[in-house]
């Protein structure tokens, strides 16, 4: 496990999460298993990248997802033939591959604000004090008159929900791919 693969995973795989989750949902019937499938796709991609980094991340991630779904469906065949929505037509479409992953900085901020606003009240208060006011967890406990352990529990809950909203399907499709690439090539 290397820092280089970590960086690749953060910079190139994670931003695909919204498109990946959409793909998984379209082809897998049980919505409760989507998060597990997503994590397994990540683990497979990461371990493959330890040996050799794929040239093109996006097709590689979707091919991995597709293979995982087929493996799973085959293994469960006896239980139900109905798990995969369309076993034959399980193809990665143009649309999957073009779904743009990156947001411009100010869209990110807008999205983050929405993500924080959508948290349950107590969790939201903790996250706002931590991230907007910059208070350490101990100071938040004092301010809110709750135990430090409770603050930690809320952070734990909050980080899971924020990740869903920052990377996942919940985020707005406000991507501006072109302006991103323009800047990336600027220098």
């Amino acid at each position: 496990m290397s820092e280089e693969v970590d960086r690749w995973f953060l910079a190139e795989v994670l931003p695909l999460e919204a498109a990946l989750v959409r793909f998984l949902k379209r082809h897998w019937r049980d919505p409760h298993e989507i998060a597990d499938l997503r994590q397994e796709v990540y683990a497979r991609c990461y371990s493959a990248a330890l040996n050799a980094r794929p040239l093109q991340t996006k097709p590689f991630v979707f091919a991995t997802a597709r293979n995982l779904l087929i493996d799973k469906a085959r293994r469960r065949r006896i239980v139900s033939l109905d798990l995969v929505a369309d076993f034959e037509g399980l193809n990665v479409t143009e649309q999957d591959l073009s779904a743009e992953a990156r947001l411009e900085a100010r869209d990110q901020l807008r999205q983050l604000r929405r993500a924080i606003a959508s948290l349950p009240p107590r969790c939201r208060e903790v996250i706002m004090l931590r991230k907007i006011e910059g208070l350490p967890q101990r100071a938040i406990a004092e301010r809110m008159g709750i135990a430090e352990g409770t603050v930690e529990t809320q952070v734990c809950k909050g980080v899971k929900m924020l990740a869903e909203r920052i990377f996942g399907e919940d985020r707005q499709a406000a991507a501006r791919a072109d302006s991103y690439h323009e800047h990336a090539n600027e220098r």
């Binding site: 496990m1 970590d6 960086r7 995973f9 953060l10 994670l14 998060a35 597990d36 994590q39 397994e40 990540y42 683990a43 990461y46 371990s47 411009e104 900085a105 100010r106 990110q108 901020l109 807008r110 983050l112 604000r113 924080i116 996250i127 706002m128 931590r130 991230k131 907007i132 006011e133 910059g134 350490p136 967890q137 101990r138 430090e148 603050v151 930690e152 529990t153 952070v155 734990c156 809950k157 980080v159 899971k160 924020l162 990740a163 920052i166 990377f167 302006s179 991103y180 323009e182 800047h183 990336a184 600027e186 220098r187």
Partner: protein, 311 residues
């Protein structure tokens, strides 16, 4: 099953956040994250979300609030040290009024401001500083500068660079203006970047250590490049240019910022990738490498150096 892994990962993020841990070693954590790739990817994902949520600090109003005072003992210490160091170089000490600084091609200048902040001005740059008991205001008219800002939560340090306004409480970072482009590289702490006209929090972003921001007009890109990369970007402070598989054309453009004798690269070799560390003012060192290391042809007239493919 992986719901448990995610729960554990979230608990580690929360626990490390409570303990104020960054990347430091922690045996129990190392053991857990090393135990499986599933653990590792789950943690990476959540820790990244948690890091990205730091952006939310931009939602705060720009003026510091009554109780939002934060201690920056480390920065204060390093500033005191560096001033002592700088003094032996005979730097200019700015009086508390507006003052202008300019550097010529290949020149660098260290500036000590009366509030204890320090600025290093890179080649071909111009900057105006106004430091009083009521404001700390810098205008970067052109070029590039590295800032070490003395902590003062009641008096924000404001830098205008073209269309962008950068506000800091205490930190280390560089700002570069190149025609319509503004670049900010943060080495330590956090800075807030907004548009010069209008301090709407909608348009503000926060850049933290290891972040680089690139902006043109009202488009902004923020990328986490890591502290090492950012340090490389600010290597000019040592009078050194560091390239890591850059094209020959962009390396030459960097050299040309520092030297009157300009490099002209022929199109057939412009895309060649090169790496290495060079003294910014020593083009000859660089062309020697191109000639002997890569077999390129180098021809010189009195003001230009032409580099062409070998025959």
């Amino acid at each position: 099953m992986s719901a448990d892994v995610e729960q554990q990962a979230a608990e580690w993020v929360a626990r490390r956040d409570a303990a104020g841990l960054g990347r430091e070693q922690d045996d129990a954590f190392s053991e857990w994250i090393g135990a499986s790739i599933a653990n590792r990817v789950a943690y990476l994902r959540l820790a990244e979300a948690w890091r990205l949520a730091d952006q939310a600090a931009a939602l705060r109003p720009a003026e510091p609030e009554h109780e939002a005072r934060r201690p920056w003992p480390l920065i204060a210490a390093s500033i005191a040290l560096l001033i002592g160091f700088a003094a032996t170089f005979g730097v200019i000490v700015n009086q508390p009024s507006a003052q202008s600084f300019n550097t010529k091609v290949g020149e660098r200048q260290r500036i000590a401001l009366s509030d204890g902040s320090r600025i290093e001005l890179n080649t071909q740059s111009a900057l105006k500083a106004s430091v009083t008991s009521r404001e700390r205001h810098i205008v970067l008219a052109r070029g590039e500068a590295f800032f070490e800002v003395a902590s003062n939560s009641r008096l924000p340090f404001v830098i205008d660079a073209g269309s962008k306004r950068i506000t800091v409480v205490g930190t280390k970072f560089s700002v570069r203006r190149d025609q319509g482009l503004v670049e900010v590289a943060v080495v330590e702490g956090k800075v807030r970047i907004a548009d010069t006209n209008g301090e709407r929090s909608e348009s503000a972003i926060i850049a933290a250590a290891g972040d680089m921001m690139v902006a043109r007009a009202n488009q902004t890109l923020l990328a986490h490049r890591g502290v090492n990369q950012v340090n490389r970007e600010t290597s000019w402070r040592q009078g050194v240019l560091t390239f890591d598989s850059e094209t020959l054309a962009s390396a030459a453009a960097e050299f040309n910022r520092y030297n009157v004798r300009q490099l002209v690269i022929a199109p057939d070799v412009a895309g060649m990738r090169i790496g290495g560390t060079f003294h910014a003012n020593d083009v000859d060192d660089f062309t020697y490498l191109l000639r002997h290391g890569f077999g390129l042809r180098v021809e010189t007239d009195h003001e230009k150096i032409f580099v062409k493919g070998g025959s």
